[in-house]
Amino acid sequence: MKKRIFASAILLLFCATLLFADQYASARKRMVDTQIRARGIKSADVLRAMETVPRHLYIPAPRRGQAYNDHPVPIGYGQTISQPYIVAYMTELLQPKPNHRVLEIGTGSGYQAAILAEIVDKVYTVEIVEELAKSSSELLKNLGYDNIKVKHADGYYGWEEHAPFDSIMVTAAAEFVPPPLIKQLKVGGIMCIPVGPPFHIQTLYLIRKVSEENIETTVLGQVRFVPLTRKEGN
């Protein structure tokens, strides 16, 4: 009798897992269709990555129901996982190629690193908050991302031994762009920095290292739900 009950419970659990997994997969597809593709993200690599990575696994269990909603979600420690569209938009801005080596400053839950790792060869990600570095490292390892290296360190110094990088994404709040990061960027490389408090309009900065002496910065405008098309201030 006990065995039967146990077997039934296992079966039920399995069915529930399948059911929820299916729900999440369809939510993810809907997210890509309505929030990302519909808003002009064209890169096939980015769209594929966004469709592949199970975003809900990077969100604390009580908030998992919001994983595919069109807004940022708190992940604890005063951090958020960015709105899906912003993740896709920033990834596309970096123009990642399979042979690229990308540095991320601010691992958070590891979602952005996972998206990048679906496209490029190597992702190096640095997180200063020990708890987040540990949890994201474990999660990414369990999910089989062996092309992502997580380091618990001060992102100010980048990751010199793996430099230079084709592109750098600074997702941690920074008062300024740390000079070592500019040094670790290849000439011709791109750095993308979203600036702004959590849950708010973020300003995206795109920095291009034209030469060792010439650095161009473009403010791509504000991003929250969609990039504002009106002219700023008018």
Partner: protein
């Protein structure tokens, strides 16, 4: 014959002390846990409970009268209990104002917040309402106002001694004492029960701070985020009415207020001071070797030192010295004398003691003098003229960018304040203002408008020759020069910007293709705005701009409010601005349900309770609503005037609030003894309006004459000026209530309820009106309210007689 209960007046007094203390300390705690912006709004909403207690008393009057002592002791006991439990609920509710509009659950959390804060107000107001029913109104109201006035002082004094959370415990103790005192009207057994359970409750509440880990700030505040850094910790904290100062150390803590990407120098790790968990100020490790701080030359605010000639570095004035990075910068650029203003004595104490060695004792450097003063108070009494005045990064980026200061007044960023700073420059001096850039551009656009208005206000022939603006990735620096900027200075500024990858925004010789080159924004909006402001018709640009970028003045000191009608379409839908940025609109949004709820609870007793007396409800309603509005409408503009006179936000508030309340209490106490009873309110109205009109004429010269006198003299002058106003303001409520009570005692709590609700409405209405039209309009409305109340009082007395 009904039994007279002992200690009712004492309980009214103690409850009023704890009630006002609770209100003030709740605002402080809210500012520490979250941010200041919504605190007063939420608490004024919680004050709806004041009016609700009137509704309750009106409806259940018969039952209450039958068991008056039980209801009285019940209210007294419930006040501290709900205060404690409500506070725990408040702290443990995961409300995040940034998620309002994103996550619907936040609305529920917000409602829980309101309820947790409102219930204690309901019971404490019940104590006062019950006392007014049975005891002489003038005396009871006097005790209520005097107790509130003492409460304002009580909490300020305790703020120097205890952490704000611990003050809440003191307030609870006071409320429990009040219950124990009143319990002496009952049996000995009951007294013992109340005493033992009261003490147990206090002990449990005290323990709950640690058990429930209540002393926590929002995880989104800069302090919480900094504490996530490795090896981080709060190494000391000090508190005063000015706020909580916490010194923090952590690995990887670096702050520069933006830095050029081209800097070849590293920023050393620093320590930091946080104010109410926000507004971080860096403390630079300084051993006297300025070479270690060459990176300072790559911060945007250094432009000022580059534009000044090297032999023109006599006096530098710093507004808000904080952790002292501007002082180190002043030493780095070779200023002979640095005057640093730091209002917060705790910051000065930390820098001169605990951080003395770490900071290289810069606060005691022979070239540095620190003044514990606010800038206006300092400049009024100073004859110095400065080569450079620096106002840099006075607000946190998180706060600026998320709009959380939207409802706060700022007396630094007003035309009058900037004109004072500009006047204090020597003949070639420079005023440099650095602020964060936010998107869409609004903060620094308004700042440029203010800067240009300052130049125009100074009567300069060609203001365009006195302004130089640059923009870095995160900040803009606006440089105003007393003398026309020379070509050499322009060249120096150009070189500075070019070598650091900063953008030129404006100088009089600029060409449009010189702007927006390094850090490209979609539109060179700052340049366009500067050109527009300098033109003959800046109004065209200002009116068309999406945000309110009008020049803030002392009459409308809302630099951080950017909301205007044109912004409305951008508040909702996909292109929405965050909720915290809505400023004035947040007030409007909260105002509507407040109004609806207030009217519902005012009308409810008319339906459920037989209080109707022919002709009485309308004059009663109008009279008590007018005086409910009028009181705060007077208080608010006078707080503004005396803040500027006393040069200190906290002292001003406590002096004005306590003074007005106590003087109104005296007025209330003596109101039975002056004037003809038939026309008493009318005459009081004439006197009050006369005083207010007279003050419009005589106050500015009086305040000017005494503005440079000592603090004590200015406080005495303030109190003398407040007395006649407060005295007559104290007549209206008790005399009106007496009139109602003499005819229909059932209507009395209803009048109390009307007054309570309109007090809440008046707080919100006054704020809206001040943001939209300025303080002077608020005062005119107050005058109108009291004139009408005076006229209505005749009607009210007639209706009662009839």
């Amino acid at each position: 014959m009904e039994r007279r209960l002992k200690f009712v007046p004492l309980c009214v007094f103690l409850t009023s002390v704890s009630l006002l203390s609770y209100e003030i300390i709740l605002v402080r705690i809210f500012a520490i846990v979250h941010w200041q912006n919504l605190s007063s709004l939420i608490i004024s909403l919680a004050l709806l409970a004041f009016g609700a207690s009137g509704t309750f008393l009106t409806i259940f009057m018969d039952r209450i009268n039958n068991r008056y002592p039980d209801f009285f002791i019940g209210s007294l006991i419930c006040f501290p209990i709900t205060l404690g439990i409500g506070f725990i609920i408040y702290c443990k509710t995961p409300f995040n104002p940034f998620e309002v509009g994103i996550d619907p659950v936040q609305i529920i959390y917000l409602l829980i917040y309101f309820a947790a804060m409102a219930v204690p107000f309901f019971f404490s107001a019940g104590v006062i309402g019950l006392a007014l029913q049975k005891y002489p109104i003038g005396k009871t109201y006097f005790l209520n106002l005097a107790g509130s006035g003492v409460g304002a002082i009580f909490v300020i004094v305790l703020s120097y001694l205890f952490h704000p959370f611990d003050i809440l415990l003191a307030v609870t103790i006071l409320a429990v004492i009040s219950s124990i005192i009143f319990s002496t009207n009952f049996s000995k057994k009951f007294i013992s029960i109340i005493t033992v359970s009261g003490l147990t409750f206090i002990a449990l509440f005290y323990l709950s701070f640690d058990i429930f880990n209540l002393k926590q700030t929002s995880e989104y505040k800069p302090l919480s985020r900094t504490l996530l850094l490795p090896n981080s910790g709060i190494i000391m904290e000090k508190f005063s009415p000015l706020g909580l100062v916490q010194a923090v150390e952590a690995d990887g803590l670096r702050f520069s207020g933006d830095l050029s990407m081209m800097t070849p120098y590293h920023i050393p790790e620093q320590k930091a001071l946080f104010f109410d968990g926000d507004a971080m100020s860096a403390v630079i490790p300084f051993d006297g070797n300025l070479d270690k701080h060459r990176y300072l030359d790559y911060t945007p605010s250094s432009i000022a030192a580059h534009i000044l000639s090297t032999n023109h570095r006599d006096y530098k004035l710093i507004i808000g010295a904080g952790g002292g990075s501007s002082i180190v910068s002043g030493l780095f650029y070779g200023f002979n004398h640095i005057h640093a203003l730091e209002l917060n004595p705790d910051v000065i104490s930390i820098m001169q003691n605990e951080f003395r060695k770490y900071s290289g004792d810069i606060y005691n450097n022979p070239r540095v003098t620190v003044f514990p003063k606010e800038h206006r108070g300092f400049l009024v009494s100073s004859t110095n003229r400065y080569s450079l005045i620096e106002v840099a990064m006075t607000d946190s980026f998180a706060g600026t960018a998320s709009g959380i200061y939207a409802l706060n007044e700022s007396y630094l960023y007003t035309l009058e304040s900037f004109s004072m700073l500009f006047d204090a420059l020597d003949k070639n001096g420079i005023l440099a203002v650095t602020r964060w850039n936010v998107t869409p551009p609004r903060d620094n656009v308004k700042m440029i408008n203010l800067a240009v208005a300052t130049l125009k206000n100074a009567g300069l022939e060609t203001p365009s020759k006195h302004i130089f603006i640059i923009r870095s990735m995160r900040a803009s620096v606006i440089v105003l020069s007393k003398s026309p900027i020379s070509e050499t200075q322009i060249q120096k500024g150009r070189n500075f910007a070019k070598n650091r990858g900063f953008d030129l925004v404006y100088h009089y010789d600029i060409s449009p293709d010189e702007v927006n080159r390094f850090i490209r924004i979609p539109e060179p909006v700052y340049y366009k705005a500067t050109v527009a402001f300098l033109s003959d018709n800046p109004g065209f640009f200002i009116n068309r701009y999406l945000f309110d970028i009008n020049v803030p003045t002392d009459n409308r000191p809302y630099f951080h409010n950017f909301f205007k009608r044109a912004t409305l379409p951008y508040l909702t839908g996909e292109q929405s601005l965050p909720f915290t940025e809505w400023g004035l609109f947040v007030l409007i949004l909260f105002f509507i349900p407040t109004l609806v709820l207030s009217f519902a609870l005012i009308i409810l007793p008319l339906i459920l309770s037989p209080i109707k007396t022919k002709g009485l409800p309308l004059p009663t309603f109008l009279y008590f609503s007018l005086i409910g509005i009028g009181f705060f409408f007077i208080e608010m503009p006078f707080i503004q005037r005396f803040i500027l006179f006393l040069h200190h936000p906290t002292y001003s508030l406590s002096v004005i609030i306590s003074g007005l309340l106590i003087f109104s209490g005296i007025g209330s106490f003596l109101s039975d003894r002056v004037f003809n009873p038939k026309r008493r309110i009318f005459f009081a109205s004439l006197c009050l309006v006369g005083v207010l009109i007279l003050y419009q004429i005589i106050l500015p010269p009086i305040l000017r004459t005494f503005s440079s006198h000592t603090d004590i003299v200015r406080i005495i002058i303030t109190l003398i000026l407040l007395f006649p106003m407060g005295f007559f303001m104290g007549f209206f409520f008790p005399q009106g209530l007496n009139a109602v009570k003499s005819t229909n005692s059932r209507a009395m709590p209803w009048a109390w309820c009307i007054n309570g609700f309109f007090s809440v409405i008046s707080v919100m209405l006054a704020n809206m009106l001040a943001i939209y039209a300025g303080f002077s309009i608020v005062l005119y409305v107050a005058i109108g309210c009291y004139i009408l109340a005076g006229v209505l009082s005749i009607r009210l007395v007639k209706a009662i007689r009839a």
